[in-house]
Amino acid sequence: MLGRLTVEALPFYSWVAMGGAAVTVGGGIAVFLLITWLRAWKVLWTDWLTSVDHKKIGIMYVVLALVMLVRGFVDALMMRAQQAFSLNSEGYLPPEHFEQIFSSHGTIMIFFVAMPFLTGLINIIVPQQIGARDVAFPFLNSVSLWMTAAGAALVLISLVVGKFSQAGWTGYPPYSGVEYSPGVGVDYWLWALITSGVGSTLSGINFIVTIVKNRCPGMTFMRMPMFTWTTLCISILIAFSFPALTVVAGQLTLDRTLGFHFFTNGDGGNMMMFANLLWIWGHPEVYILILPAFGIFSEVVATFSRKRLFGYTSLVYATACIALLSFTVWLHHFFTMGSSANVNAIFGIATMIIAVPTGVKIFDWLFTMYKGRIEFHPSMVYTIGFMVTFVIGGVTGVLLALPPADYLMHNSTFLVAHFHNMLIPGALFGYFAGLNYWFPKAFGFKLDTKWGIRSFWCWIIGFYLAFMPLYVLGFKGMSRRMEHYADPTWQPYLIVAAIGALFVLCGIACIAIQLYVSARKWGSARDITGDPWNGRTLEWATSSPPAPYNFAVLPEVTDIDAFHDMKILGQAYQPPQHYEDIVMPKNTWIGPALGALAFALGFAFVWYIWWLVALCFVLSLVCVGIRASDDNSEFVLPAAEVARIERERLAQISPADMHDMHDYVPRGAASGAPLTGTV
């Protein structure tokens, strides 16, 4: 009846595991009680969970990412604590528990922090940047969100029922095969990946179509804001690379569940193919995480330097180059697998070439700042911190791109330091910059800058303290994922790294305080114009938070920095000649239902509860059938209602709220008018 699920799956075997389970269950109960106490269930369901509005879906993605960031960071803290103490001793974590922790840390941070964070920011902003009223497929967007949430829920429940994978976040066979990992851990990992992978693939397709088809009049490809460009590029990467992940995870599932031999030791299996297929997805994935952050940095650096982005065209081409090249370097993740010198050399050279367009971007941002009037808003501070720190990671990356050097440093903490050096400043700092930059757009009030700056300093100091020692330890020969060690000269470095993790903990606490403090003084930091930073791109033309339809009348664009031009020409905040009826998608319960069914399906597969697998499969098909035969999925927002909302908004804006654009009016050669003294 319950497959291999018995009462022994509950974590009564160790105090640490029980603690983790208690925190997870306790957190769930606390959230449940809070919502009940606020009597918010109905609002939550009708306004949020069933919503197909891209802005609300985006906010839910970011909330999911922040919750999972805390969960993934607790894993990091536990690893740092273990290694700080475990010189010639067992520390406080048994090996099998330590292995689960580093596996879940990587899985969570990549799939359930970085992916939802960037998808959330893209959801909130990109339709507004291209002057669209919604994404191309609003319902599909809701399905994507709930598939991702279902994957996250599978990882979370593995803490309470059963165990998580011990095979690392990459789960290489044969260790992750059924012969060496017979438990449920690897299955949890696989189903979390497959479920959330479906969500990511659908998001990618959705944003390709949105950006290609839904741009407002005049918005040619070469007038799209940089963040939209990076989104288009990563959506293409997602659409082409995630199928590889789905296939490889599906093959390993067949191996484990139905006794196939894709990756087994014997019977014609080839485990090297697993590494190959995993990294065909895995390397584009690195750029899927980093390119949107590059887009955010581009927007932030232009806005807070008060200048047009330097070298827009070169940034576009650099982004496109990186996107294509990201498909040509995957072997550098397994240089040591035994390929011949020619193969390694080609992939090593391709890897070094990728550093060139990335360097172009760094220079473009520096030149944007050059002679700009820089304002040290938290998002700008994160951007500057990124530029300095990311270059270090880039240099160590080029070092690792040399196959001979890689042979010495592979699988060491040098590698760990390198990829954290790319992903924390490169991706996460970008998302935090985006959080500070676009928060007023999503919620209508600004975030507290003081706590924003504090969180930045805690993060960057914590980052350097936590990962610079790991570079040194890598040179000293420490391999990654060590539960305990015997070399006393390593311990001081590991203690410094643990202190760094404590600084990062303060950084996360500062973000929590920042959110709390800002919410407390909501009224005083209200964003009335919808343009708190004197922004340049179209998302600042809408109200904050935007009306459900974003734009009452679709804007027309003649150049990049469309909203900046509108403000200079006095076209911003002008009521249009007339309003029109707007067709909007209706909310639907099918998205959350499909998510819940995907979660149950994954859970049933993990525990071999076959009747539940069949039931969930059939119910999913029923849901799809109901949706497909629903001809009444849209409603019309009448022009009178649109006019009321818009008039109310414009009535609140007084000229005193608007930014003084006199300093920005082009003069001299930039104005296009003939210069004095020339004929």
Binding site: V212, F240, I280, T328, W330
Partner: protein, 101 residues
């Protein structure tokens, strides 16, 4: 209207016949043991690629004239990526195979 409907029916039928043929050939070769060694792999690979082209032309109605340039560009891009992924994987795995002997 009637004319174009007839034409599209004949297009679909041509496509269907070609698709069946391209499926039957590899099956026949393997089942009947008509060819051996790497020649079988070559024929199957060629038949598979032709199969993809048949689907694109006869079922998805993609041709160089009437399909928008944007779509052709994305299709070409997809072809490049598939070439990189499949070709790269074959190269890497063949190389490993060679070194294991």
């Amino acid at each position: 209207m009637n004319h174009s409907a007839e034409r599209s029916l004949s297009t679909y039928l041509t496509g269907f016949v070609l698709a069946v043929l391209l499926t039957a050939i590899p099956f026949a070769l393997v089942w009947g043991g008509l060819l051996a060694g790497s020649a079988v792999y070559a024929v199957i690979a060629v038949a598979a690629v032709l199969q993809v082209i048949v689907h694109l032309v006869f079922f998805l109605h993609i041709d160089l004239k009437s399909t928008p340039a944007e779509n052709l560009f994305f299709l070409a891009f997809a072809a490049v990526l598939i070439f990189i992924m499949v070709g790269g994987s074959l190269w890497i795995m063949m190389d490993l195979h060679h070194r294991m002997q």
